[in-house]
Symmetry: D2
């Protein structure tokens, strides 16, 4: 990650091949968590269609003036309370002489420093009501639900959902918050170029006192090779590589997993760490302090 800009209490960051001005905005705060996340629509027409749909649900808030790096954005709430923005006008990243790549099909040069993540990959939210989020999302924002966890094959109540809007097998995941809280953040994921680079990332975290929660290992669901760490502020960050997996079938049928299957743990047998189900941000103890 490199810093694109700083403004007030905020710094704006991006991975080396992210095409936009930034993909992460960090703002100083007394507690960890996500203030909002944003989707970029595919066109102004698509943006208008989505806003119209959202307005009809009563969850719309209204337009803001945009931010560094993107134009006006429409704000709304997920049924679980997450603040979300939709925008289309964006500022493509403009290299400085020092980070211009030798390859003009790369947004900026391979940094060769720290964990060299290539691009933002996906976002994972906690939700108290996964079903409500799912139905709202598929109805109003579209995309495909590539995989899901349900209670069992008779009780299809969702415990987790994964949505895709391009050929990656997921761009947004929503997981049940075992603490029953609403609107929390689970993690943001940046993609490394290879599994080897995820292993190197683990060494870099080890050598620099970054707390590893679990991994590197391979998820059963979505097959991602993952490493979960906590950034110093307390949010979970994932460094991941999906090998060559893509979903290109426009007919893709949602892969359904049961809680029973989930209990088997990760692909190579690593038990899923218990904090995965409970640790979201903000954390209850910091909320009371805040």
């Amino acid at each position: 990650m490199s810093i694109t800009a700083t403004q007030g209490d905020s710094i704006y960051l991006r991975a080396y091949d992210d095409y936009e001005h930034h993909t992460l905005k960090l703002t100083a705060c007394s507690q960890a968590g996500m203030r909002h996340f944003a989707w970029r629509a595919r066109s102004t027409q698509a943006l208008e269609r989505r806003i119209m749909a959202i307005k009809s649900t009563g969850l719309g808030i209204g337009w803001n003036d945009g931010d560094l790096g993107h134009g006006p954005a429409y704000e709304f709430r997920s049924p679980d309370g997450h603040l979300i923005e939709l925008y289309f006008e964006t500022e493509k990243y403009r290299c400085t002489p020092s980070d211009q790549s030798a390859l003009k099909n790369t947004a900026s040069k391979f940094p060769g420093k720290g964990i060299n993540v290539r691009r933002i990959d996906h976002l994972n939210l906690f939700a108290n009501d996964v079903r409500a989020f799912r139905d709202f999302h598929l109805t109003n924002l579209g995309g495909i639900m590539s995989e899901t966890i349900v209670n069992n094959l008779n009780d299809m109540h969702p415990q987790a959902v994964w949505f895709m809007v391009n050929s990656k097998s997921y761009d947004l995941a929503v997981t049940h918050d075992a603490l029953g809280m609403k609107g929390r953040f689970h993690h943001v994921t940046y993609a490394a170029n290879s599994r080897e680079e995820v292993l190197i990332a683990a060494d870099i975290c080890l050598e620099n006192g970054i707390q590893i929660e679990t991994g590197p290992h391979k998820h059963t669901i979505q097959q991602t090779f993952f490493l979960y760490v906590y950034e110093p502020g307390g949010n979970r960050v994932e460094i991941a590589n999906t090998t060559a997996r893509l979903i290109t079938d426009p007919d893709h049928k949602t892969v359904v997993w049961t809680l029973e299957e989930r209990k088997k743990g990760q692909a190579w047998g690593l038990p899923t760490i218990s904090t995965f189900h409970t640790r979201g941000t903000p954390m209850p103890e910091t909320i009371s302090e805040a």
Copy 2:
């Protein structure tokens, strides 16, 4: 690659995570080359729209009855003469007990034998008239031209084009045939899970007498980590890994390279092998024999 079916003089093959019945059909023939390739449309409506557009160009041929693994297909010619099919109805691959994956989000199990390619990645054609192919394709089939080589920035005549229809940075490439022949095949590419697996593929080719044309190395254009080999029949096959690169910008602006830039060779300095510009199939000498 594994064999899905054999019928008459043909065998049908797929990579382990290809979702369709097959992605490659090999038919015994006295000379190498590609009889046809096919696009799957995103829906029946999309299929109808594309066929209507193609018919208006006079390059349409008509419907056939389909083949093992897919329904009826509409046949047409590219302006350069390549035979192309469009279809929507397809048969998803159904595992046998012996190739069922332990992960139900994989089309079949990781084979652990030979070069374990995951999925078909792209096709590369030779064309005598790249401009005509490009214009026909963008007008009638859509997609985005992600990168191109032109003579120079004053003479934008195209020498090569790369088209994308999903988040991969290309699904079809068309390159100028330096022999001036029409409608030839350049190569088909299958994706391996990592660059390490491309290196392993090179060892497997070395140990089994499969002729390596060039690589492994990294392309400047498209950045793909590649290995080109000739299959025993004489067609070029590429084993590739694109690391984590995707193009997710709906506004993506075509990256333009000049012939001058192309002469610099591959990303890390390997000169582009001369046969890359001349060897297509069928080969002239086999045509005269055939």
Copy 3:
């Protein structure tokens, strides 16, 4: 692994770059375990010196006639009861036409099938009395103790020891048997060419019903990237890669770890699996049956 020979109830196996006739001999038996392991001396003179030393301890047994692949061997017992052989005369592996490598500096060709381990790496034994084993080994067989685990820095009683006889950081490890049994086998390790190949090995095990005990992950001690599995007969096998680590310092000072440090788990935080301390072969339940 490939089979070099079969004889009676035994099959002889080797990795593709093992220089000897075999590095593993499997013999049908009603229970899992290790009948013996063998060291090759560096010369006939070295062999004689070691035998003389062993005889003086009273643990020597005597010469046998050798086996397929190696000449006469001197048998003795470790203080914990493991049967060990020492030999020098060996038969280098002779390729067959079908496994001759294209590279004449490789013992046989890269197989491109299953888990393509390159060479035997090390052996790990359980011992009831680690100290006795350590002292016997260093006194009579030489080598360097590269790392050790002791109770604590005041009580240097060893819980585990790692010996090296070449530039690899260990060739033999001896770990305390938490069941208090004598002379058991812990695991044998074969080296893969890369960490990526260890990850691929995990997928191959997953897809073929081979039970993964733990990993892939990185050991804190010795830094090895490891995967532990149980072969169908019940013995533990490790697939490992040590990255580029070697110990070339003739003055190498033993790295000392405490039990307290060991409790922190593996390098990236994976807790050491409890079976690591108890599961050896033969297993108590099979002994009673045998």
Copy 4:
């Protein structure tokens, strides 16, 4: 590489797991080249034995007072004129608080910056008279000649030799200088942890204007996965990974290659670059200037 010390016109460097104070000393000079290289003996006794042998050849020079990081060294000339030192007393690297590894079996922490080479691997010299160097080396310094190139199987005159003194398959290589000059330097090699890291190194060189001479690719001889670059001063540096290859056979028989075989190029078919045979340092043009 990190800087251990600077003194006068010199800086001292090491890779992150090199156990000594430094493995490279760079001194400002008007031309590129190697002033001397040094072997560490295995013990003071071994040092004495080697010095006695060298003195008997008339190529000995005498003792110097040592340098930062090591004790007194005995200087001598190779038959080709290279200045060589032998020493035993050395200073182990002592971490500073900022480069202390979390793993106490690593000499310093994984840097996570630039090309993260682990350790010095080997040195390659040019010689006008390879045979004289070879005979001098094997007679007076010992070790094993693991591989060699000879004119042909009838004329065993050596064109190149590779010597090993531990389990790595070579620590010193000597290649015929096609310019017929004496005593030149060819390259020094540092080992990266994986082939993937060699590929990453190529990207780092590409992005930072470091000239790549050839690679990444796999050598036929010795099988090393290599990348050759020129450092800004003009010397060739290799970043390499040997996968899991080691030679542990005390009986290892030299692998003999012919010039005919060498002409086939590298393992996967890359032609050997012509500068490999002619470019050494100092370069003739800089000598006349100097």
